[in-house]
Amino acid sequence: MNEHINFAFFDEGSKREIRRATLKAVAIPGYQVPFASREMPIARGWGTGGLQLTLSCILPEDHLKVIDQGSDESVNAISIKNLITSTTGVQITQDTEQATLIQSRHRIPEVPLSAGQILVLQVPTPEPLRSVEPSERLTKKLHAEAEYSGAWLMLFEQIMKYGRMATGADHPVRTAGRYVMAPSPIPKFDNPKMDHSEALILLGAGREKKIYAVPPYTSVVSLDFEDAPFEAESFEGKKCSLCGAEHVYLDEILDADGTVRYQCNDTSYCMNRRNRREEN
């Protein structure tokens, strides 16, 4: 731990700014609270929003897990972990159950989260209406009036074009029956994990200077139509070629000889299963 840098990197004024915004975000579920996003020693768009949330609330006794697209060991995850451990000295873990604070990009872990945990999600585009309305002033007004036809229209157009809702990730949700919210670019497979989650979920967009949150036990409903219901990615009949897991989010891997196999996207989940098998 670097003793010449303040605990958790930031000066206390920066922490206060992030903390004030976060508390308001928790009090108004799904509403994007603007905040004075700080410069970080990593580039904007690489998780600065998530990092600011993590650093503002981290405790020396926390067990931290950082994942990037399901992996604990990608370059982005490692860089973020290095920055956090060098300024806080916290324990790093890959085990989802052991973690008290989880920062993630593009995935919610396979192991269900519990009440003692906080999940921090990195968000590139916090505004779910941005694709239909480029002006921030106008999207703020649309949220104020709960005028969400733009979001519905986007999904409707996808159905007209492709025969189904074609959102690959970041499928918009309605939080606590009021705000339409971008769940961050998690696959549709993970959307239901947000609904009535036991853990507090914090979402941070550093470049866009927004913080929002989903408190525990809060309804999070993916937008859909009566005659075109929301459907998560299906991996029916497929399983992980390493650990044999079914009903998890799988990556498709194309081998050199052209054969297709599947592998758990959540690397620590996969590894835990294989370790357990070896022990038995």
Binding site: E12, V26, A27, I28, C57, K141, H143, Y179
Partner: protein
């Protein structure tokens, strides 16, 4: 600010965050409050919250029988004092607890475009207990949770009126002399009910 204070504020924040995310649950700031050496004239746990939240980038006002309190807080935190209608944080000490309903009526409830401008009220009360006559519902609560907040009557109705049109409203943090805190964000619905029905 020394290292112990920095760690202490991280702990205070994590507890406040947890209390705000799980309305009606009680968190104790007694350890952090015990570290406070300077007596401002409010409860030590309230002072923890002041140091957590206030600085030159926000605004506050304080109500107390002790008129010097507001000035002392401003000197300690550099936080500008604003009239109640414009303050982001409003502190009410126990000595003026009866004023809570009328203060609640007058503080900012935010705007539909910027609901985060709704004030946060830090309110001192005599005691906080889990279980009790207040039945809470809403985000952050699994089914219902019960708690008891010992303070002067009348505030529940005033709060319901202020928070009637979500997302407008005020968020409350209650503090008691034992160093406990309890949060009621604007989303929490309160009903009063005896703990057991007489048969």
């Amino acid at each position: 600010m020394n290292k112990d204070q920095v760690y202490s504020l991280h702990r205070v924040y994590r507890k406040v965050l947890d209390a705000m995310a799980r309305p009606g649950t009680i968190q104790s700031l007694s350890e952090e409050a015990a570290m406070i050496r300077l007596d401002l004239g409010c409860l030590p746990a309230a002072q923890c919250l002041i140091q957590l939240l206030l600085d030159a980038d926000t605004t506050f006002c304080a109500f107390s029988a002790d008129e010097a309190l507001e000035r002392k807080i401003s000197q300690l935190t550099y936080c500008p004092i604003r009239p109640m209608e414009k303050a982001a944080y409003v502190l009410l000490t126990k000595s003026v607890a009866a004023a809570l309903p009328s203060v609640m009526e007058q503080v900012s409830g935010g705007t539909l475009e910027d609901p985060q401008l709704g004030a946060t009220l830090i309110v001192e009360c005599s005691a906080l207990k889990s279980g009790g006559e207040l039945v809470l519902k809403g985000p952050g609560i699994r089914d219902v949770t019960r708690c008891q907040i010992e303070t002067r009557a009348g505030w529940i109705e005033a709060r319901a009126e202020k928070n009637a049109e979500f997302p407008l409203g005020v968020d409350l943090i209650f503090v008691d002399p034992q160093g406990q805190i309890l949060c009621l964000p604007r989303t929490t619905q309160i009903s009063k009910e005896a703990e057991t029905w007489p048969m």
